[in-house]
């Protein structure tokens, strides 16, 4: 019964969603998101340029990173994005309980990412891999550090979204804010998806 009502609701929504195509969140939030992406693009290009200056050094250093932690963190962020997508859908359908549980799940993922990053940093430093060791580790710490800074902002955003999920009815502005916040979390995920292969995998 529940499944049926859900199915019909989704089926009923689909044509209207197609008829009025719109940007998620308010258009303004995309100034921030695209602006951030452009600058991270510059960061990545700088890294690739530095890499081309000393390919052997970068490749040797790359092998000293722990791929397991990197991969775990990738899976954690992908899972968190899935939580956020489903949470936004739940908020839209006024399913408060589900939305809160899903956002809490995303929040746990975000904190787990920070935890694993802390373990990774501690391990690297105790093995003597510090930013001053060579250019690879300099960029490793700076790029992952800037990304971690975004994750921390994202965690704060998720906490705000969690407070919004308690409401049954959201005004248009609030709903746009929720979508914008969710998009920011996806940006954090996306940046890591680029950063992970760039640092850990590209040979």
């Amino acid at each position: 019964m529940n499944q049926m009502t859900l199915g019909s609701a989704v089926g009923g929504d689909a044509p209207t969603a197609e008829a009025t195509r719109r940007v998620p969140g308010e258009p303004g939030v995309w100034i921030f998101l695209f602006g951030d992406m452009v600058v991270f693009g510059v960061f990545f290009a700088t890294f690739m340029y530095q890499r081309s200056l000393a390919p052997e050094l970068f490749d040797q250093s790359r092998h000293t990173l722990s791929i397991n932690i990197g991969l775990t963190n990738t899976l954690i962020l992908l899972t968190s994005s899935l939580f956020v997508v489903t949470a936004v859908r739940a908020i839209r359908n006024s399913q408060r309980r589900a939305a809160q549980a899903l956002l809490a799940g995303a929040l746990v993922c975000g904190l787990a990412f920070v935890g694993f990053k802390a373990i990774e940093y501690t391990a690297k430093v105790s093995q003597g891999h510090v930013p001053t060791e060579n250019n690879f580790y300099l960029y490793f710490f700076i790029l992952t550090g800037l990304h971690l800074f975004h994750v921390l902002i994202g965690v704060a955003v998720l906490i705000v979204l969690l407070t919004q999920a308690r409401r049954t009815e959201l005004s248009v502005t609030r709903m746009a804010f929720v979508e914008g916040g969710a998009c920011f979390w996806h940006l954090v995920d996306l940046l890591w998806i680029v950063l992970f292969p760039l640092l850990y995998l590209v040979s």
Partner: protein, 243 residues
């Protein structure tokens, strides 16, 4: 008259930014930045070679930096209009607006000091040079706090005709996030986060130039919105109550 003064203040901010680039880039020659990894002798040599250019460039900045103040006065007033009274946001905006011209002036004093007697012990010149960059590039907290306040003010503006468009709030958050890496220069002598690095210097400088131009355009529009509001208030004889 009011509108003309406000708009002149905004244009003055843009003019000062152009003057800043001329003074620091073409006269003093500190953009592109010096290398923090240089030895004391190398740094002192640069100050010896260019001492006259540097003294003129920095003397101009020490004197003219305060022409930035009216621009920030307009910004603070617009935040106050959103708040509706002199609340914590607008007063903080004013307090931090003092640091912007003063920071430019103060860092220039140290660099002018370094160029004043370049024949002295190179270690002293190097230390003065370090202080210049630590203030010029590293003191990012005040402006970042200011743009976060502008972003918050944009988001909470519930008036019928808001002063700032909502995208301007997100734009300010973008600037705040990209300005932060500047605060890391105290920890690095080489690489992208050193004071001559791409993440700590070139990106924040580019983003600052974009920010001041966009903010000027938005403030010019906000001044028009305010002027229209005042005209309506005069016609309906409903003046803003004195807070």
């Amino acid at each position: 008259m009011h509108v003309k003064i406000e708009k002149a203040s905004i244009w003055l901010g843009l003019g000062m930014t152009a003057a800043f680039m001329v003074m620091f880039w073409f006269i003093a020659g500190v953009i592109p930045p010096l290398n923090p990894n240089d030895t004391a002798e190398q740094t002192a040599q640069i100050y010896t070679d260019r001492h006259l250019r540097m003294q003129i460039g920095f003397a101009l900045m020490i004197f003219f930096a305060y022409l930035y103040a009216p621009f920030f006065a307009v910004l603070s007033r617009q935040v106050r209009r959103i708040e509706g009274y002199w609340g914590a946001m607008s007063v903080t905006q004013i307090l931090l607006s003092v640091t912007f011209p003063f920071g430019f002036s103060l860092c220039s004093v140290f660099a002018a000091l370094a160029a004043y007697r370049p024949e002295r012990d190179p270690d002293v010149t190097q230390a003065l040079n370090d202080v210049f960059w630590f203030i010029f590039v590293g003191l990012v907290g005040p402006l970042i706090t200011q743009v976060i306040i502008v972003a918050l003010a944009t988001f909470i503006d519930k008036r019928e005709v808001p002063s700032f468009p909502r995208w301007f709030g997100y734009f300010n958050i973008w600037y705040a996030v990209l300005g932060v890496p500047g605060c890391a220069i105290y920890l690095f002598k080489t690489g992208p986060l050193a004071w001559n690095g791409i993440f700590a210097f070139w990106i924040p400088l580019t983003v600052f130039l974009i920010w001041i131009i966009v903010t000027a355009v938005v403030l010019l529009k906000a001044t028009d919105i305010e002027a229209a509001e005042r005209e309506r208030a005069v016609a309906e004889r409903t003046w803003e109550p004195a807070a």
